[in-house]
């Protein structure tokens, strides 16, 4: 653990990413305390005002404060990111563990299913499903989760394949441990490092998909604010109100970048192959 922290701390970009991630968490949790206005408060006297002392990031076409809407929007992004990744991770671990532990025809069926899922362009699948079940934040979380578990399944399968032959697992079997105990108590805890890394990277991908869906109008529905649907307003008013496009765009960029940096930092820090060279 200490080697892990030392290696992670040495990676400045990853630490910067972690700081941004922590900062975004605080903003999302403290949204009602720090946002200057009610995000849905319409003010017809101040429509499409540029950034100024009253509204630091300007107002939109209904006179709503963009800063407040972005602060509340961060809650959407983070919750979609985490719930979708949570679903993907659970589904991926389930199928990956079955596949790697039991092998044989179970493995072949699951892996062919993974190949099929990977061969479908995910974004269009999501579009089609959302068009069918209707846009809501819960549907989006579930659909993103159910279309992004394949990477986790492959990682977990690979870990199980190598761990199930390890001596400590064989020793447990000789001692009379059943399959469930071996899977949950011995193999799974030792295969979580790569899953953890892929989950952090997955949060970034899920946030991006949610923003794209909201931008296309089939994601989070107005008046609930999300970075994606603020961008849509920005597109409609791009010639007169640049702030409606620039700030949510920057927020998405910085968030996704931060999660990716943290994920890659974790990956490098957790990779034991890189440990020997420097202490």
């Amino acid at each position: 653990m200490s080697i892990f922290w030392r290696r992670f701390r040495r990676n400045r970009l990853a630490v910067a990413g972690a700081v941004v991630v922590a900062f975004l968490f605080i903003i999302a949790i403290a949204a009602p305390l720090i946002s200057p206005y009610d995000p849905n408060e319409i003010d017809r006297a101040h429509i499409l005002e540029p950034p100024g002392p009253e509204h630091p990031l300007g107002t939109d076409d209904l006179g709503r404060d963009v800063l407040s809407r972005m602060i509340y929007g961060s809650r959407i992004s983070l919750s979609v990111g985490f719930v979708a990744v949570g679903i993907a991770t659970i589904v991926g671990i389930f199928f990956g563990a079955l596949s790697g532990y039991y092998g044989g025809w179970v493995d072949r069926i699951i892996m062919r299913f993974v190949d099929i899922m990977l061969s479908i362009p995910t974004f269009f699948l999501i579009l089609a499903v959302i068009a069918f079940v209707g846009p809501s934040i819960w549907n989006i979380m579930v659909v993103i989760g159910l279309t992004s578990w394949m990477g986790v399944a492959r990682l977990v399968r690979a870990e199980f394949l190598s761990l199930k032959e390890r001596e400590f697992v064989l020793a447990e079997r000789a001692l009379g441990a059943g399959n469930m105990r071996i899977i949950f108590s011995h193999i799974l805890p030792n295969s979580m490092a790569p899953v953890f890394v892929s989950a952090v990277l997955g949060v970034a991908a899920a946030i991006l998909v949610e923003s794209a869906l909201s931008f296309l109008g089939i994601g989070v529905q107005p008046p609930t604010p999300s970075w994606g649907n603020i961008l849509t307003l920005g597109k409609d008013n791009i010639e007169i109100a640049w702030w409606l496009s620039v700030f949510p765009g920057l927020a998405i960029l910085i968030t996704v970048l931060a999660y990716n940096l943290v994920g890659e930092g974790l990956r490098d820090a957790l990779d034991p192959r890189l440990w020997g060279s420097e202490r």
């Binding site: 400590f168 020793a171 447990e172 000789a174 001692l175 009379g176």
Partner: protein, 323 residues
Amino acid sequence: MKELLRVMDVKKYFPFRGGGPLRAVDGVSFTVKEGEVFAIVGESGCGKSTLARVILRLMMPTGGRVIFDGMDVFKAGGEELSRIRRGMQIIFQDPMASLNPRKRIIDAVGEPLLINRMVKRGEVKDHVVELLRRVGIDSDALYRYPHEFSGGQRQRICIARALAVKPRLIVADEPISALDVSIQAQIMNLLEDLQRQNRITHVFISHNLLAVQHFSNTIAVMYLGRIVEMARTEDLFSRPFHPYSEALLSAVPRPEVGGKAGRILLKGDVPSPVNIPDGCPFHPRCHRRFDPCDRIIPMLREVDSGRWVSCHLYNGRFGNLKD
């Protein structure tokens, strides 16, 4: 003495890309009596470890049977299987890989007690302390993790874990080969003490004849997945019959001044178990090969009381063709 373990014509083949199967274990049979120490020696890659794993049913064999205490190991299920599991334990070469890196010692050694409902949850600690004491580990080890120990200590912990289920047979798969030389003797002494005090039968697997010389009652020499010679330890050391055993023994360093130096150097490497030579598997490297060796596979037969050899040299009456 009662027979405890009977291994009958056990085979384990692995599928191998681009060629026939890899014949890791190719028809091995032997019996081990209760309280005996049965050693299996051979070069790395001769199938010793695979054989150990098959005997414990950690992998299923391609063919053959193993009878443990009257129970058919590969056919057993339910309560019978769990009795077999408790009866046989294994100790591996690498003690670090044998312990779950995320489990504290108390959990690692205590788990088999709980799985087999041998003690109540509240009594686990006392039992673990006692098990650790038997292998010479202090009780302040309880709440530490495997990486905090030395190799020798870890191997002691693995032995304690195996002892937890009160086994009657321990299969030790190269238990000292990964340890420092200074530690090897300590672990050997520990195993000998356990064998003597608790009458635990041992199948001791090693590539080092010297390590088994004083511990084992019987030695089986393996080559390419088969037993080539099986004999009482003192008989094998005083006069090996099979040319391969002869070569192995001649490689054992002898400390006596003026001890005979006549070392037999084997030519070449062990052939691949995917491509086992025709006839006697050992013939390409054999220094005594003659006419039938590259055509006819010799059978393992008892050529003298308690002495089994698979070699054409001893095909007729005992000693007929020797020299």
